[in-house]
Symmetry: D2
Subunit: 294 residues, 4 copies
């Protein structure tokens, strides 16, 4: 397909790269230039504006947050203004449910189609084309952009005709992931202060009752206290919990663990942890328990 | 080995059965009789008292709580009084760290050996001999009772020379398991109220980021709202969280998620849920969110 | 002084009434008409637009929330557009810190002055002119509008030159007030289930260690379970906690009690309590404890 | 009356002193001697054993915790063994509901009477005879010991015929007091980080909506960060929250603020605060918010 790709952060860059590898004709755009050069070397066309990236059958976006998405979509020369009739905007950004609903409406008004397709997976999974894609949108739109989704992930799950359903699922998934940082963080603060070797403990957990990779990945980061460099930066994790709580507020769903996670992020930031990986909140229970890391 | 086995609840019965299957000479005892008959048919000797079950090289106990364990161990004709010199008491019950320390001391004084070997797994895993055993005790004691541990589980992990370390690990593991009820319970309350099919949601989660069986097992119970019959009764789950918090209090480790879980159990019990499976706490977020199940 | 007054809800109506009583020349405006008639009978002039209320030395606003305030201030023919040079906008609405900062900037740009003067007290205190006023703004602006503040309250406390400081204080005060609902709610759930007469209990508390009127007022509402009619509607209370948490998020201050209060409001709304007084969250601990009110 | 008084800590010493002042014939006992000397100078008789203090019409106890009370009451030569038929044990200690029930039963069996009369107030109130007494017990016993209660307090409130009701009320009262540390602690962390002068803020609160002395006392300690010397030591506050939670657990009442307070105490202790006043937990929100006190 002839498509545009906007947003070349760690995740977006890897996704665009896989779209090229799958044979698509990709025009890439990034606000700060320079990130697109190696993609150009592999055949990508570099757009000098958002509008230039909107001349194909579809445009995918992978942006940091609501604000970035709003600018790219609604700004002057933005996607709504530039994208052709019936063309598809595939949004993989982790944005709010509310913004997703606004995008659905705006694209419909402009005669365009909107698919929400946020992804699960860290940058290494993105690079390997092993993301999981949670997709929602009208049947025809989903069908037409399926080749794109298949190029970036190992599996696409279709959730609903309402695009924002995919965003709600994505946010709730990140909430669950964050709780796989918090709870083991508390457990390790406990057994560690109880004199048990944390490596052995983690090995026991992950080889028995908790074989999910996430327990292993985050568990090791917590055991080592190694939160730099950030694979998924804490402010992004905080944003996702904030958006989860915003959706929960609109739907009137109290989520006490999500509230706790929000407080953990605020504590982390207030104590100098803005640049750490989000798993750093898993070290706060030990901090409360008086542990001092050198 | 020639051993005794005390405590024939769902778990204990299955464990004793596997000990027989492995060729051990087992004398079984249960406070309320009747539970031992089918074991007798398969070669077990039935003891009429705790003391009668203490005449072998080792005695294993699988009891409901601290109170039951204290009675069996310290009561008249109890294990401390009846067990031979150098014989081993293998305690698989989920008891408090504090009681485990008391047992260690009492058995040492009596010239006996004590191994703490709590197990991970639900009754079906116990029946299949697929439990995970977290063991702690002196090297020689562990070595001598290894054939027993191997008969009941698929894997034994040795944690420490201090028996109570195994209890702390077991409690923290149950805390982690309970948090795999709470967090998905909140997430499902959210996406369910957001109009997303919960079965599809669970399928997405467990086939992607959360492949651990525990997510599947508890997730399905929560989606179905099917908390009877209880595989692991809520009061037992509550007890484990209570003991986790007691250990955390002694060690001065604040564990906010554990505090939340405790409140969830109290809410469940106060609203008529004493007989449900412990996964029923996973339905309370939806109840707070106003969901009414028929 | 010659002033305008915009927003004639329960609180605003009482405040405008006291401004008239103090001899000020008041032009009142309310979006939905009809609320101003009795004020007209007492000498108020009725404006047919926001702009008409902006022709004096100052205009006071007492509006429901950020959205209402934004419309009145920034809308076409709004305060920024209509108010004269050097005239003062005195905002008594409980709005966000962020909006207060925006108002400060916008009025400065327009050559106007802005004073933030949120008030503490329920409608009966407003009617009696017994409000407490938390004021912030430049020294000259505060001095010039002091006669207005004195007319509506029994005491004015000046907090800062930065107007939004008064909003932060107001929000934090409402957070404290809400916590005087939650904590006694928990305590009463406890002693009530323990068989103690709640009236006697409340009388003991308020006549000894907790003589503040707030304990008496909210305590009685909780003891009686009498949450209608609403003196301060739950959605307004929820809004204040939401704005407190928003300010706390911007400042990176984790506030676990505020998070709990937010969840309480969501639970209340999800279970049909949108029209109740905000003290109704004080009944939720008893609900969790299984209490059924007829 | 001819009475004994056991337990001469800060509170007990002041209470015994007021009993003497009121003309009672008091025999005092304290485990560690030396604390009674100045009382002897004012007419007290010094007992060399618990039993010696049990020869009058009544014996009052003011002890640190359950363990101390159990020893004094049930130990060899303890109150149950030594007190005469129909004589009254007036327990003012803050002990558990469960122990209070055990004491009631044990004294009844021994033909003695038991009154539970815990007190509200800090040492200075005790010294001034200005305590509030929450009393429960049989009508006749209460009547007979009223002169004692009147000597130590400014007011006695009779709560129930069941002595432990007074303990439940006392514990819940201390829970409420602790929440008057936590919530203002959070509010001050917020406004302080927002640049507002905390002294001015506290002055505003306590002179308007929160005129209760408790807000002033704890508020000032938090503003000053002055948690030494301890007027009411943190471990005692922790004990009370622990006993509140224990009673709540038995009654199946979830109390999330109490759970939070428990975690605050554990955090305080884990970070070196065992010797501080219990108001030190009010500084933890600011610590989480990154504030560093010199």
């Amino acid at each position: 397909m002839k498509i545009g790709f906007i947003g070349l952060g760690k995740m977006g860059h890897a996704m665009a790269s896989n779209l090229l590898k799958a044979g698509h004709e990709v025009t890439v755009y990034n606000r700060s230039p320079g990130k697109a050069e190696d993609l150009a070397a592999r055949g990508a066309r570099i757009a000098r504006s958002v509008a230039e990236a909107c001349r194909g059958e579809a445009v995918m976006t992978m942006l940091a947050d609501d604000r970035a998405a709003e600018q790219v979509v609604f700004g002057e020369g933005g996607i709504v203004a530039a994208l052709g009739k019936s063309a598809i905007h595939v949004s993989s950004s982790t944005i709010s449910v509310a913004l997703s609903d606004r995008l659905t409406e705006a694209h419909a008004k402009a005669g365009q189609r909107f698919v929400s397709a946020p992804v699960f997976g860290r940058p290494d999974a993105a690079a390997a084309g092993k993301l999981f894609v949670a997709a929602a949108g009208t049947e025809d739109a989903l069908k037409d952009c399926l080749p794109l989704l298949e190029a970036i992930g190992q599996r696409t799950v279709v959730l609903s005709k309402v695009p924002s359903a995919a965003n709600l699922v994505k946010l709730s998934g990140n909430f669950l992931a964050a709780s796989v940082i918090e709870s083991p963080g508390e457990a390790m603060a406990l057994v560690g202060k109880g004199g048990i070797d944390r490596h052995a403990y983690l090995e026991l957990l992950t080889s028995t009752m908790f074989p999910a990779p996430m327990y292993k990945i985050y568990g090791e980061l917590i055991v080592e206290g190694k939160f730099e460099p950030a694979a998924f930066a804490a402010p992004l994790g905080h944003k996702d919990i904030r958006l989860t709580l915003a959706a929960a507020e609109d739907l009137r769903v109290p989520m006490p663990v999500a509230s706790l996670l929000r407080d953990r992020f605020l504590t982390l930031f207030a104590n100098g942890g803005e640049n750490l990986d989000w798993s750093a909140i898993g070290g706060l229970a030990a901090r409360d328990a008086g542990e001092v890391r050198s």
